[in-house]
């Protein structure tokens, strides 16, 4: 197994999950993990627990990176364009960004599709989370 691009941001294995935090008082979720103070204006909690976030959700929107992003993105040569998805997690009531799984055709996507979290290497071999369409 290769190294994650960010340490402690997601679990490894077949059913990976993003690691967020949840306010112990009002229940608000955060990704990435939050330390310090709950951002709910009606909550003054400073206590959070680390929680794995839902590993599936509904596609909110999607796009592509057709131009090579600047550093610190590490691109292989020649640059391979990739997709990006915004996925709504229903339980957490939040939208989370990530690259689209390699090989996803944008033309095959539409808002509302079921998506799930997978792990794939970035161009430099480091593992990251990506969103993949759930095949029925």
């Amino acid at each position: 197994m290769s190294t994650p691009v960010l340490e402690g941001w997601f679990t490894l294995g077949d059913k990976p999950q993003l690691l967020g935090s949840r306010c112990s008082v009002c229940g608000t979720y955060y990704f990435p993990k939050l330390q310090g103070y709950c951002r709910n204006p009606d909550c003054s909690s400073e206590r959070f627990e680390e929680v794995p976030l839902s590993r599936s959700g509904k596609l909110w929107s999607f796009t592509s990176a057709s131009y090579q992003p600047p550093e610190p993105y590490i691109a292989s040569a020649p640059f391979q364009p990739f997709g990006i998805a915004a996925v709504e997690l229903l339980k957490e009531k939040m939208v989370v960004l990530g690259q689209l799984a390699t090989g996803t055709e944008l033309a095959s996507l539409k808002a509302g599709l079921d998506m799930e979290l997978v792990l794939e290497p970035l161009d430099d071999g480091k593992l990251t989370w990506k969103w993949k369409q759930v095949r029925a």
Binding site: N40, S61, S64, E71, P72, V95, L97, A111, L122
Partner: protein
């Protein structure tokens, strides 16, 4: 109710937008001198200099108010510098209004200028996994990603098309062609837009605004002062909204990787909150608006703004552009200046440039861009870190 909180715009000035390779101070001084000449106020009579900071020009940029006061010749005025990302100009304007309304000064210079680098805006170097801005670039998520996600969402929910977005570009290019301060003054066809390179699907290069050098300045005063110098009929600022977002923000915002979670609080739209506060403050409604200057970082985003300003129902923005409503000569012209499409963003100057355009329009001095019988104009913009603004100018 609102009249006693109004201030007058006595003069406006700009330096043409472009890539001129000069120091930002030079652009600012040109804009300030033009605004002073336009107002008829002597520089020595200015009691407060309110600058919008630029983060890209070192210390002189962080203390922009003092930098411009010195460049114009120290004359003892009080100074202020505001930083609020894309809303820096509006925040500098709000500082001047507070001084004027509290009676601490009668007449002020508000000014913003920038020199901008080429290409993608990118984060500072180094390995910084605790900085969300570093993380998103590490994962390949650039600024156009966010504009593209909003654009695609429109296509998915409202049925907008890429050609609708192209129509926004065509319209703004036609407006900008008539504006001597605009950087890009060329007209385009839908085919031109279709042929431009894809950046972030569905947005092409011509759908996304560039970054530019530029400067804009305003001379503002109390209504009493305006009357005393024979400018009782100068356009007035009726509202300056610089509200922050309300938790839980439901729209994914640059540079975040996730929205707020709406588990404990209702989901909110920041963009819509900005003009709402401005309307409330001015005691003016969307039905009173003659024209709008909105922050078209992308073509599709102009449509979002039109809806956030309540100029049409949510989802109807594209219908307006298709029907020519938002074009010069239409019922409700949007971005008569040419907008960011023709200017390119010069961060600290941009919100003030929007107000300059409204002032010219309300004075009937917009030349070939003139909106017939323009009475009330509104601006809107949004930037990073919970900053944004909406300003209402009336006759």
């Amino acid at each position: 109710m609102s009249t006693n909180k109004d201030i007058a715009i006595l003069g406006v000035g700009m330096h043409p937008w472009g890539k001129w390779g000069k120091n930002f101070v030079e652009y600012g001084v040109k804009a300030a001198r033009d605004a002073l000449a336009d107002s008829g106020v002597n520089w020595r009579d200015i009691q407060f200099v309110s600058g919008a900071a630029t983060m890209r020009n070192g210390y002189p940029g962080y203390v922009a108010g003092a930098t411009f006061a010195q460049a114009l010749g120290w004359q003892g005025a009080q100074v202020n510098t505001s930083y609020a990302a894309c809303a820096s100009g509006s925040q500098a304007l709000a500082a001047a209004r507070s001084k004027i309304l509290s009676g601490e000064c009668e007449v002020a210079l508000v000014i913003g200028a920038d020199t901008t680098p080429k290409g993608f805006l990118k984060p500072a170097p180094g390995e910084r996994p605790d900085d969300p801005d570093w993380v998103r670039f590490r994962l390949g998520i650039t600024n156009p990603t966010y504009f593209a996600l909003y654009a695609r969402r429109r296509m998915e929910i409202y049925g907008d098309t890429q050609d609708d977005f192209a129509l926004v570009k065509l319209k703004n290019a036609e407006h900008g062609a008539l504006n001597p301060y605009a950087r890009y003054r060329k007209k385009f066809t839908v085919e031109d837009v279709r042929a431009s390179a894809m950046v972030a699907d569905p947005l092409r290069l011509m759908d996304i605004c560039a970054t530019s050098d530029g400067a804009a300045a305003l001379i503002v005063s109390s209504l009493d002062y305006a009357k005393r110098i024979g400018k009782a009929s100068a356009p007035r600022i009726a509202a300056i909204s610089t509200v922050t977002p309300s938790f839980a923000s439901a729209v994914i915002e640059m540079p975040d990787l996730a929205t707020d979670s709406a588990v404990a609080c209702e989901p909110q739209r920041f963009r819509a909150a900005l003009p709402r506060k401005a309307y409330e403050e001015a005691g003016i409604g969307p039905e009173d608006i003659s024209l709008a200057e909105v922050y078209d970082l992308s073509t599709a985003l102009e449509l979002d703004w039109i809806e956030d300003l309540q100029l049409c129902a949510r989802g109807d923005g594209a219908k307006l552009v298709r029907a020519g409503v938002t074009k010069l000569g239409g019922r409700l012209p949007v971005n008569t200046s040419g907008g960011l499409a023709c200017f390119g963003e010069a961060v600290p100057a941009q919100a003030l440039a929007q107000v300059c355009e409204l002032a010219w329009q309300l004075r009937g001095e917009a030349g070939e861009r003139q909106v017939t019988n323009a009475k009330v104009g509104i601006t809107a913009n949004q930037g990073l870190f919970g900053h944004g603004s909406s300003v209402i100018v009336k006759r």
